[in-house]
């Protein structure tokens, strides 16, 4: 099975042309089934949504400078944080790394000419746009105020906002996740080039494999729960109404059965990206490659069994609390192993301090903090004290923003020369990376403190004793906003005036670097073949400085 490959298109001069020159009309982009072009479409759309979600939370942070509010009504405030959550989770974070870097890099990484189902791939982007259209409609028709969690009976019976349209948007965008997941699974199973055995897959490919599995298995449950909410709201079907024998907790079980694995949908790809970046900029094989693979699989599997830790105070039985608490501690083990392995990768390495590496180190630090505070929340007594407080808000932002977004930026910078063929300005990129790390910490460390002191989340007005922490946090948000805007400027500049990067500016070993940058439509000029393990950097860290292959020959054990 693993020997199946698609035929490579023969005409050489056509194959040598970059995917960017395959057509310059907008229509040529909107109808392209080329995985690289679809990745670009995704990248542009999620960037737009990232900034919409960012503006929403920017207004919230501004409002929170004063304990009694500045310029919003409570309803407007509730709508802003809700739309921030919906957009950031489903229209930015979930598709972020898989739909952009996964789409662009994964097929090249395993030596395939495209994904297994190119037209399904294009359809997934149109599904995303369809879901996005509903969300934009919600935005312009007054918003939605249920929080991104849609808890009934508030969402089903009491909210006076556009719940059904918002749920429809999320429902539809879920299918784009499923399509991407199915596509990646088929691609990794069927289209690996000769010699690319499972344990020669780069860790990014493994991350994509596990995350696709989670997407395919978990997302349908989200679709069901949103459909049931809409049925109760629109038709009065009393599924979650205890007066008619329904159960309001049923929704929370269904919702978190998706939404906890969704956290891993957001963080596993990030783990994949930083593994590539650490290997490349430490010039060393990732420490404990096999352990890293099994750790990801274990996270994917156990991640399905811990949803109940979101419901310790929801009215769940104490026994269930105990079981979910135990499983939550267990799922933290593989994450901890990964942190140690990334750190271990730096041992006896040749470490560079380029921008992708700074972002990856930022990921490592913040993921460690996010993971450790996860242990606090896995302990039932502490969770009871801190759930629904800013402590939880800070915890999951540390994972999802500090972790995933840092890794997303690491990947963008690492593969930027591959995708565009241009170099970005290293100084500004390093500056932005450091600013982002500092801005993040100034924003969220105060939230940990005030959460533990007792500041509940989703509060428009708050007791004035917490003002100092809110002001600090809002100040950090300004730094963070600047750090997010900077790449927009220097990357655009690089696109227009950047230096040519050459095929492999980092002298990286991945298969995706063994072809021209930007790559031709069929990805490779001749069918690729693999006969070494991944990350075969020189034993002592030096990759070959010259040669267009840029790949060091295997030299015994690189461990």
């Amino acid at each position: 099975m693993t020997d199946v490959t698609l035929p490579f298109v023969p005409p050489l001069e056509a194959a040598g042309e970059s995917y960017l020159d395959e057509g310059h009309t907008i229509l040529s982009w909107l109808t392209s089934t080329d995985h690289k072009r679809i990745a670009i479409l995704y990248a542009l759309s999620i960037t737009v949504f990232f900034f919409i979600g960012g503006v929403a939370i920017g207004l919230v942070r501004l409002e929170l400078i004063s304990p009694t509010g500045l310029f919003l009504t409570s309803d407007e405030y509730n709508r802003l944080f809700t739309i921030h959550g919906i957009i950031m989770v489903w229209f930015f974070l979930v598709p972020s790394i898989p739909a952009t870097m996964g789409n662009f890099i994964l097929p090249m990484m395993i030596g395939a000419p495209d994904v297994a189902f190119p037209r399904l791939n294009l359809m997934s982007w149109y599904l995303y746009v369809g879901g996005a259209a509903f969300t934009v409609y919600v935005l312009f028709s007054g918003g939605v105020d249920t929080g991104w969690t849609f808890y009934p009976p508030f969402s089903s019976d009491y909210s006076h906002s556009n719940v059904i349209a918002a749920a429809a948007g999320v429902f539809i965008v879920g299918f784009s996740s499923i399509a991407t997941g199915v596509n990646f699974l088929a691609t990794i199973h069927m289209l690996r080039c000769p010699g690319m055995t499972w344990f020669r897959l780069p860790l990014f490919a493994w991350a994509m494999y596990v995350v696709s599995m989670v997407m395919v298995l978990a997302t349908p449950v989200l679709a069901m729960s949103l459909l049931l909410i809409s049925a109760q709201r629109y038709f009065g079907l009393p599924i979650f109404d205890p007066n008619a024998g329904g159960d309001p907790l049923l929704f929370q079980h269904l919702f978190w059965f998706y939404s906890h694995p969704a956290v891993y949908i957001m963080i596993l790809p990030a783990m994949g990206v930083v593994s590539e970046v650490f290997a490349c900029f430490a010039r060393r094989r990732v420490f404990g490659y096999t352990f890293m693979v099994y750790a990801m699989i274990m996270i994917g599997v156990v991640g399905f069994m811990v949803w109940g830790h979101h419901m310790f105070v929801a009215g769940q039985s104490p026994l269930a609390n105990l079981v979910f608490s135990f499983l939550s501690f267990i799922v933290a083990v593989p994450s901890a192993i990964k942190v140690f392995n990334w750190t271990g990768t730096l041992f006896r390495a040749h470490i560079g301090f380029e921008a992708p590496m700074i972002y990856a180190l930022g990921f490592l630090g913040l993921f460690t903090i996010g993971g450790l505070t996860g242990l606090f929340l896995a302990s039932v007594p502490i969770d009871i004290a801190t759930t629904d407080s800013y402590f939880v808000v800070a915890h999951f932002h540390t994972i999802m923003v500090g972790g995933s977004v840092s890794a997303f930026m690491a990947g963008i910078h690492y593969w930027w020369p591959k995708v565009t063929g241009k170099l970005y300005n290293e100084f500004w990129a390093q500056f932005a990376a450091i600013t982002m790390f500092l801005g993040f910490n100034v924003t969220f460390l105060p939230q940990f403190v005030m959460g533990w002191l007792g500041m509940p989340r989703r509060y428009h007005y708050y007791p004035d004793v917490f003002q100092i922490w809110h002001v600090l946090s809002s100040g950090g948000a300004v730094i963070l906003a600047v750090a997010y805007l900077m790449p927009l400027v220097y990357l655009t500049w690089s696109l227009l005036y950047g230096e040519q990067a050459g095929d492999n500016p980092w002298h990286a070993t991945g298969l995706e670097w063994q072809t021209p940058s930007p790559p031709p439509k069929t990805n490779f000029l001749r069918p690729p073949r693999i006969d070494t393990n991944p990350y075969e950097y020189h034993d002592f860290g030096r990759a070959e400085e010259t040669g267009d292959e840029g790949r060091a020959e295997p030299q015994g054990e690189a461990s």
């Binding site: 409570s74 009491y158 309001p248 105070v313 901890a336 041992f347 470490i351 989703r458 007005y461």
Partner: protein, 323 residues
């Protein structure tokens, strides 16, 4: 407002929670120091171009390292779980005898009813050094009674009962607030928890205008709503005798069994069709429109007081809810 209204450890349980928090903070701090320390050291030693010699690491040794830190991590996590769970377990067993206060939450206010009949809104007076059990329900959406000084939080569901119990050790005025997003004014659905000495509490209760206790108010309702027409021994209509039913197992007409706790008694009034006791005709009317949450609380208090003829059973068969 003062931060001590949130941070004071007003019960022994709160002290335990804080100890666990400090323990995990110290462990986390050490791990962060370890990881960042290693990163700094590796950067200093192995910066690209640095002269440090870089020997090879045999595969076997690196596997030993992997297994080593996996085991260390696993066992420290199991230790933390054990610590946290043992705190939780001791806090779980609800006390046999407790002062039971009824809590009704609704958008966006709190109503409390004391066993003495005293009622209050957005203010909760409780005695210190006494087991206090809050039986809570919501009239609309999901709320959550968050008592920061006691480190307690429990969601409050519509048409269901959840419980929260504590034994406060410090007197004073503390903050409480809603922790589950419930709509427009969620952020101002707050109030004061007043912990008093038992003597002060008794004095406070006596000074409240409501003359009758809950059970007596329930008794009046029981008659005025017509319940007594059927549910009195010797009534001509065939309806279950309610004496001593609270806390006991009942067999339902659909073959299932339920413990007659607050939730069941409430369902009997609001969902009579699905809670019919085996052997009785389906003639119980639906009282959904006839009673409000406060009246249900009073009726249940009355039914619970009807235990004179049989011995008092296990007080609480439904261990739902946090400590």
């Amino acid at each position: 407002m003062n931060i001590s209204q949130f941070t004071t450890e007003a019960s022994d349980y709160a002290v335990k929670v804080d100890h666990l928090f400090y323990l995990e903070s110290v462990i986390s701090g050490l791990v962060v120091l370890l990881v960042s320390g290693l990163i700094v050291v590796f950067f200093a030693l192995y910066y690209r171009g640095s002269p440090t010699p870089r020997g090879l690491l045999p595969e076997r040794k690196s596997r030993e390292i992997e297994i080593g830190w996996t085991a260390v991590t696993l066992f420290s996590f199991l230790f933390l779980f054990w610590w946290a769970a043992s705190d939780q377990l001791t806090a779980l067993a609800p006390p046999k005898h407790a002062l039971e206060i009824q809590v009704v939450a609704k958008q966006w206010m709190w109503r409390f009813q004391h066993p003495s009949g005293a009622r209050e809104i957005d203010e909760l007076h409780v005695p210190a050094h006494t087991n206090v059990r809050l039986a809570m329900t919501s009239q609309d959406v999901i709320h959550d009674l968050y008592l920061p000084a006691l480190r307690l939080k429990q969601d409050i569901l519509p048409d269901r009962y959840t419980y929260e119990w504590f034994n406060a050790t410090k007197t004073g005025i503390f903050h409480f607030t809603c922790a589950e997003f419930c709509g427009t004014d969620h952020s101002i659905m707050a109030g004061s928890l007043v912990i008093m000495t038992p003597e002060d509490y008794a004095r406070w209760t006596a000074a409240q205008p409501e003359g009758d206790d809950l059970a007596h108010q329930g008794k009046a309702l029981f008659h005025s709503l017509g319940c007594s027409g059927c549910h009195t021994p010797g009534a001509s209509v065939h309806a279950p005798d309610l004496r001593g039913v609270y806390g006991h197992v009942v067999h339902l007409s659909d073959g299932s069994t339920r413990v007659a706790d607050e939730a069941y008694l409430r369902d009997c009034m609001l969902l009579p069709d699905s809670t019919r006791v085996a052997g009785f005709p389906p003639i119980m009317p639906n009282f959904t429109r006839a009673v409000n949450e406060g009246q249900i609380v009073e009726l249940i208090a009355y039914i619970k007081s009807l235990t004179t003829d049989r011995q008092t059973g296990a007080q609480d068969q439904s261990p739902r809810g946090s400590p």
